[in-house]
C-alpha cells in the first residue's frame, strides 16, 4: 500500500473528519499540539532515567507492551468500528513463535520477533478474510473463539509449548552485541517499537487506506458504491492489528523470559479491549492513556486482592459504555469544547 502524498492542509482535514465532531480545532492549536507532543516525547525519553525503583521500571515496560497491544487493537476497534476479543491469543502466537525459534532454532532476537509478527499476521489474514465478510456479531464472536482456541493450543500442545507448565529460559534480546538485560534498556527498546507503531498508524491515517477505512466505518455501502474495495481494506487493517499483537507478544516473551498460557487468556483480551474503550477509540492518544491508566491500577491492585478490583473493573465497564462512550479522550474533548463556543 503506497501512502499517497497529500498536502498538509488536506491531511489535517482528514484527521478532523476521522475524529468525532467534538474535536476542537483552531489554527493555533496545531502548534500547541506540536509543542505538547515534543514535551511528551521528552518526558517519556528522559523521565525514566530518573526512576531508581526497579519495580516502577518493570511497570513501565509492562505498560509499554500494553500500549503497543492497544495501539494495534485500535486499528480494528477505532478505525474499523468493530469489536475484537482475541488479541491476547495473537499476542501468544508472537510470543511462542519468537521464544521457540530463538531457543531451539538458533534465531536471533530480531529474527524471532519478525517471525512471530509474521505468523500472527498470517493467522490474522486467515481469520479476518472469511469473518470480516459477515455483518452483525459474527466477527467479534469469531475473534473471541479464536483467542480461546489459540490459548487451548498453547495449553494442549505440550510437546511444543510445554503446556500449562510454561516455557522458561527464554534468552534476553541481543541487538548488535548489546544484551537488553536490565529493565531500563528494555524500556527504551519497547519505546522504540511504540514509536514505530505510532509512526505506522500516523502514516496510515493520512493515506488512501486511512481515508478508505474512515469511509467504510461511517457508511460501508456508500464506500463500496464509490469503488472502495472495503473487504480488502478491512482484512488489511485486521492483519496489521494482529501483526502488532504478535510483535508485542515477542517483546513480552523476551522481557519476562518465561511464558505460559495464562498470560494470553481471554481475560487479557478483555482487558486490552477495555483499555482501548476507556482511553478513547479511534484516536491517537486514547490507546496510550487507556493502558497507562489501567495497567497502573491493575498492577497496584495485585498488591491487594485482585477479585474486588476486577469487580470494580466490570462495573466501570458498564458505566463507561453508558455514560462515556467516547472514553477519556471524548470526555476531555467535550469539556474543552464546552468552554469554547
Amino acid at each position: 500500500m503506497s501512502a499517497a502524498r497529500i498536502p498538509v492542509a488536506d491531511r489535517a482535514s482528514v484527521t478532523q473528519a476521522a475524529e468525532p465532531p467534538l474535536a476542537p480545532t483552531a489554527g493555533m492549536s496545531r502548534y500547541i499540539r506540536l509543542g505538547a507532543a515534543v514535551l511528551a516525547l521528552l518526558a517519556v525519553v528522559v523521565g525514566p532515567l530518573f526512576v531508581q525503583s526497579t519495580l516502577i521500571q518493570h511497570f513501565l515496560v509492562l505498560i509499554g507492551i500494553n500500549v503497543i497491544l492497544v495501539l494495534s487493537l485500535d486499528l480494528v476497534v477505532g478505525m474499523l468500528g468493530l469489536s475484537a476479543l482475541g488479541h491476547a491469543g495473537f499476542m501468544g502466537i508472537g510470543a511462542y513463535t519468537s521464544a521457540l525459534l530463538v531457543m531451539n532454532q538458533g534465531f536471533s532476537f530480531l529474527g524471532g520477533l519478525v517471525a512471530g509478527t509474521a505468523l500472527a499476521t498470517f493467522f490474522g489474514v486467515l481469520i479476518g478474510y472469511p469473518s470480516l465478510r459477515l455483518g452483525g456479531h459474527f466477527f467479534v464472536v469469531v475473534t473471541f473463539i479464536v483467542g480461546i482456541v489459540f490459548n487451548l493450543l498453547f495449553t494442549n500442545l505440550v510437546e511444543i509449548t510445554k503446556g500449562p507448565m510454561g516455557l522458561p529460559g527464554i534468552p534476553a534480546p541481543e541487538i548488535a552485541g548489546h544484551v537488553f538485560h536490565d529493565k531500563l534498556s528494555y524500556y527504551y527498546l519497547v519505546l522504540a517499537f511504540i514509536l514505530l507503531v505510532l509512526f505506522v498508524k500516523w502514516r496510515i491515517h493520512g493515506s488512501r487506506m486511512g481515508r478508505a477505512l474512515t469511509a467504510i466505518r461511517e457508511e460501508e455501502d456508500l464506500a463500496r458504491a464509490v469503488g472502495i474495495r472495503s473487504h480488502r481494506y478491512k482484512v488489511a487493517a485486521f492483519a496489521l492489528s494482529t501483526a502488532g499483537a504478535g510483535l508485542a507478544g515477542a517483546l513480552y516473551a523476551h522481557y519476562l523470559r518465561f511464558i505460559g498460557p495464562a498470560s494470553f487468556d481471554f481475560l487479557h483480551s478483555f482487558d486490552l479491549f477495555v483499555m482501548n474503550l476507556l482511553g478513547g477509540k479511534g484516536t491517537l492518544l486514547g490507546p496510550i492513556i487507556g493502558p497507562v491508566l489501567l495497567t497502573t491500577i491493575d498492577q497496584a491492585s495485585q498488591l491487594f486482592r485482585p477479585e474486588p478490583a476486577r469487580i470494580v473493573f466490570g462495573v466501570c465497564l458498564i458505566l463507561i459504555i453508558i455514560y462515556m462512550p467516547q472514553g477519556i479522550i471524548g470526555l476531555v474533548r467535550a469539556l474543552i469544547g464546552r468552554r469554547r463556543p
Binding site: S83, L85, L126, I127, Y129, P130, S131, R133, L134, G135, G136, H137, F138, V140, V141, V142, F144, I145, V146, I148, V149, L152, L153, N156, L157, V158, F266, F270, F273, V274, L277, R305, E307, P308, R310, I311, F313, G314, V315, C316, L317, I318, I320, I321, I322, P325
Partner: protein, 285 residues
C-alpha cells in the same frame, strides 16, 4: 471403541445443545451476543452443587433451583443492564463482558479458586450399549436434553408467545407494527434462554470439576456451534452440535485429546470460508 466414542459424543453434544439453543434464542431475538451466559452456566453449576451438598436436596430439586437462579440472573441482566444500554444504542457486548467479570469474580471471592466436585446421582450405575459403557447419569442427561429441544421447538412454533419470539427474530419492525411488544418478548426470551443455559450448567456440574470460570469453555463451544450452524436457527444448532460434539470426540477418541480443540478451530474456519453465513444461516449485511 466406536460405540464408546459415539456415546461420549452424544453426552457432550446434549450439553452443548442446551447452551447453544439458549444463546441462539437471545442472539436471534435480542441481537445480543450474550457472553454473560457463561456466568449463568457457572451459576447453575454452583446452585445445584450447593443445593445437593449444603441443603441435602434431591438432584431434581437442585436442578429446579438452578434453573430458577439462572432465570433470575438472566432477566435481571436484561432489565437492569441490557435494556438501558440498548436505549442509548450503546454496545451490549461490552455490557455482557462487564457482567461476566462481575459475576465470575463475586463467585471467586465466595468460593475461592479451588475446583468443586460432588458425586452424581445414580452413583456408579452404568448402562451397557453394545460394546460401550455409559453411566446412568449421563444417559439421563442425554434424555433431558433430547426432551428439552422438542419442547422448545413446540413452544416456539405453537404458542402465541413463541410465535411472537420468532416474529421478532425475523423482523423487528414488522413485529412492532403488528403490535408485538418487544419488552415482553425480550423478557420471555431471556428467561427461556437463561433457563436452558443454567440447566446445562447444573447438569454438567456432577460430571466435571468446576470453578468460577466454568462457563467459558461451554460458551465458546456453543458460540462455535451457533456460527457453524447459522445464527438464529434451531436446525442449525442441531447440525452444529452434531458436527462439533461428535467431531471433537471422534478426534480425541481416535487421534489424541490434545488435538480435539484443533477440530473446533479447523471446522470453524472451514465453514466460514465455504459457507460464511453458516450451514443454515441466511445472509444478512
Amino acid at each position: 471403541m466406536l460405540t464408546q466414542v459415539l456415546l461420549n459424543g452424544l453426552f457432550a453434544s446434549s450439553l452443548y445443545c442446551l447452551v447453544a439453543l439458549g444463546l441462539t434464542l437471545i442472539l436471534g431475538v435480542m441481537d445480543i451476543a450474550d457472553f454473560a451466559q457463561g456466568a449463568t452456566y457457572m451459576l447453575g453449576a454452583f446452585v445445584a452443587f450447593l443445593a445437593v451438598t449444603q441443603l441435602g436436596l434431591d438432584f431434581h430439586w437442585a436442578l429446579l433451583l438452578a434453573i430458577l437462579a439462572a432465570v433470575v440472573l438472566g432477566v435481571a441482566n436484561n432489565q437492569l443492564i441490557y435494556q438501558p444500554v440498548m436505549r442509548r444504542s450503546a454496545n451490549t457486548l461490552i455490557a455482557a463482558l462487564g457482567v461476566l467479570l462481575i459475576v465470575q469474580n463475586v463467585a471467586l471471592m465466595i468460593f475461592g479458586s479451588e475446583f468443586q466436585t460432588y458425586s452424581a446421582p445414580f452413583g456408579r450405575e452404568v448402562v451397557e450399549i453394545g460394546s460401550g459403557v455409559i453411566p446412568l447419569y449421563k444417559v439421563s442427561v442425554i434424555a433431558i436434553s433430547m426432551a428439552a429441544v422438542p419442547l422448545v421447538w413446540v413452544f416456539l412454533s405453537k404458542t402465541a408467545t413463541g410465535k411472537a419470539i420468532r416474529a421478532m427474530s425475523q423482523n423487528k419492525e414488522g413485529a412492532a407494527i403488528v403490535g408485538i411488544g418487544s419488552r415482553e418478548v425480550s423478557l420471555v426470551t431471556f428467561a427461556l434462554g437463561s433457563a436452558l443455559v443454567g440447566l446445562a450448567g447444573a447438569l454438567a456440574s456432577p460430571v466435571y470439576a468446576f470453578d468460577a470460570f466454568f462457563g467459558a469453555d461451554a460458551i465458546v463451544k456453543a458460540f462455535t456451534i451457533v456460527i457453524v450452524g447459522g445464527m438464529g436457527s434451531i436446525a442449525g444448532v442441531l447440525v452444529g452440535v452434531a458436527i462439533i460434539g461428535f467431531g471433537e470426540n471422534l478426534v480425541s477418541g481416535y487421534i489424541s485429546t490434545e488435538y480435539s480443540t484443533l477440530v473446533t478451530f479447523v471446522l470453524l474456519i472451514a465453514v466460514l470460508f465455504l459457507r460464511p453465513q453458516g450451514i443454515f444461516g441466511k445472509r444478512h449485511a
